[in-house]
Amino acid sequence: MAAITLSAITKRFGSFDALQPLSLEVQDREFVALLGPSGCGKTTTLNILAGLEAPTSGRILIDGRDVTDIPPMQRNLAMVFQSYALYPHLSVRRNIAFPLEVRRAPRAEIDSAVARAAELLEITPYLDRYPRALSGGQRQRVALGRALVRKPAAFLLDEPLSNLDAVLRLQMRAELSGLFRSLGATALYVTHDQAEAMTMADRIAVFAAGRMLQFAPPLTIYRAPADRAVAAFVGAPPMMFLDGIVTDGGAIQAGGLTFPARHAPLAPGAAVTLGLRPEDVSPARDGPTAEVVLVEHYGGNQVVTLRAGPARFCMLSPPDMRIEQGHRIGVSVDPRNLYLFAPDTGRTLAAPGLDPRNETR
């Protein structure tokens, strides 16, 4: 396994900047998720690291060795593709064996490595089938087997679960997580699914529009987002944003509601964007009231959409609470759980995960 350093990598396609200068250090045995919406540059980053695309500028180091100009076959990285990219004309056995056959490994070594990978992934019964005869989940395992069979410096995974159905995706998510932890493998995992990133990664790199917005452990991303874009992308149901003004008393007034703020970072009268995570809003007997616009009951909990003046926000409430559409209910937010952003730049001014005395973050 290996540490990986990307240093000031950029990528231009014609006049389009696919990647702003990007620097990223992945430690040995670290599982890093590259998270962002489609077209944000995360797959480009992975392809550049793999050597499938050349960066416009910048250097790539694997364990201190500069591999920027080295072809993919000599970088010793294993990749799992979103489409699985299995070789259709080879049996499962030959698919998994391919990386070793290409390296002219001895037959006995290939056979035992394939058997081990197949056992680990529970695909031994399918070894003599062709990819066409496998289900999506089985194909996914074969693709993993092909990556595992040799000892790569790191694993690159490009949305490996996005072609699976929802139930299987959850199951594979847990399995993959366990697998990579037990392998002690360095892995870069591209995904647009924030739940995958949150649950699997040691650290998450959040991307948007060709820029890396933040690179931090999942809970830091969640509780101390660098800016509004990161806050909006991570969390489900997503954070809601309200335009607010700092009152003389240091509270935040937004959409006819007043939220007591523990640490008002701005002078009275200043405009501020208030961010509310649904789980931080709770029903209260004596709080300010809001109108119930929509109740979505998920069985285990319910998401209530509320309206107060022009402002709309969501509340996550327990499953057994009776909430009627059209009624008004009182809500409260723990002052510690307010997120505040600068309305112009989107920069985070206050967040639960930030030390309030260190607002430069």
């Binding site: 993919p72 294993a78 979103q82 070789y87 290409v102 062709y130």
Partner: protein, 293 residues
């Protein structure tokens, strides 16, 4: 009346027309091939002779000569055009204006009428006044008689046929290559395979079913070659470049030996069908991976 019956009823006129224009002449020619009929002697068909015409044709030295030359030409031209077509397709696969332009230019030989192809090549290769030999002569490389010496004429015709049909092979292969998911090629690179290995272990095996299909079409088509012979060598020198098609043409429409020409036509048809069947069987054997288990 069900929808299906109405649909079948609508098909009847087309089927009748097909039967009339396709199967009736076929049946008629088979009928003729079993009788003795030489137009030069009589306008009316002679007596029933069974398989005599077939045995006479098969014992004809000119016919067997033509058979061997035709097989050689078909095999040579197919192999050449498949290999060249695959190579050119590999070189021109992709989407930018340069590649698209090269593909279009490379297609030109195919859209020229075969008769014109033959005529142009005959003029190009004329022994004393053709531009090819003038150039070779000026370089001091000698002036081979491309269409005039028996062995060389056979090779020349094979090359001309391959030249004309390589574009066909190229466009089909280009489509086959373009249909390989790029992820698979990227995966092979990540797995450590170099260009040669990717070509041998991934690209060729995946496109092999289509390569065989192209080879089959080329082979069957080349077995029926007539036009190029007609416009370049006229079957000569001697009988060196008689193809089966040309032999049939000469027997039937020059010597009016209708019944033997019909018999030879049926032999050629059998040869084409056997060739096609062989290729299809081969193709099915290597395609097990495309079948759901």
């Amino acid at each position: 009346m069900s929808d299906r019956q109405i649909l079948l009823l609508c098909l009847v006129p087309a089927l009748l027309l097909l039967a009339l224009t396709q199967f009736y002449p076929l049946a008629q020619s088979f009928y003729v091939s079993l009788h003795d009929w030489t137009l030069a002697r009589s306008p009316v068909m002679g007596e029933f002779v069974g398989a005599q015409n077939y045995s006479r044709v098969l014992h004809d030295r000119q016919f067997t000569g033509a058979l061997w030359f035709t097989l050689g030409l078909a095999a040579g031209s197919s192999i050449l055009s498949v290999l060249l077509g695959f190579g050119l397709a590999l070189l021109t696969v992709g989407e930018n204006w340069k590649l698209r332009l090269s593909r279009t230019l490379l297609l030109l030989p195919m859209i020229i009428a075969p008769v014109a192809v033959g005529t142009v090549w005959r003029m190009m290769l004329a022994a004393r006044i053709g531009p090819v030999n003038e150039a070779l002569g000026a370089l001091g490389l000698g002036t081979p008689n491309w269409l005039g010496s028996p062995g060389l004429a056979q090779v020349t015709l094979t090359v001309i046929d391959a030249w004309q049909w390589t574009p066909f092979s190229m466009i089909v292969m280009a489509a086959a290559l373009a249909s390989i998911p790029p992820d698979i090629l990227a995966a092979a690179r990540m797995d450590g395979a170099g260009r040669g290995l990717i070509l041998r272990r991934i690209i060729v095996p995946i496109t092999l079913p289509i390569i065989l299909l192209v080879a089959m079409f080329r082979m069957v088509d080349a077995l029926m070659t007539l036009d190029i012979v007609f416009t370049t060598t006229g079957g000569g020198p001697g009988f060196a470049t008689h193809t089966l098609g040309y032999w049939i043409y000469v027997q039937g429409l020059r010597y009016f030996n209708i019944s033997q020409a019909a018999a030879a036509s049926w032999l050629l048809l059998a040869l084409c069908m056997a060739t096609a069947a062989a290729f299809l069987l081969w193709r099915r054997r290597i395609m097990s991976w495309q079948v759901r288990q």
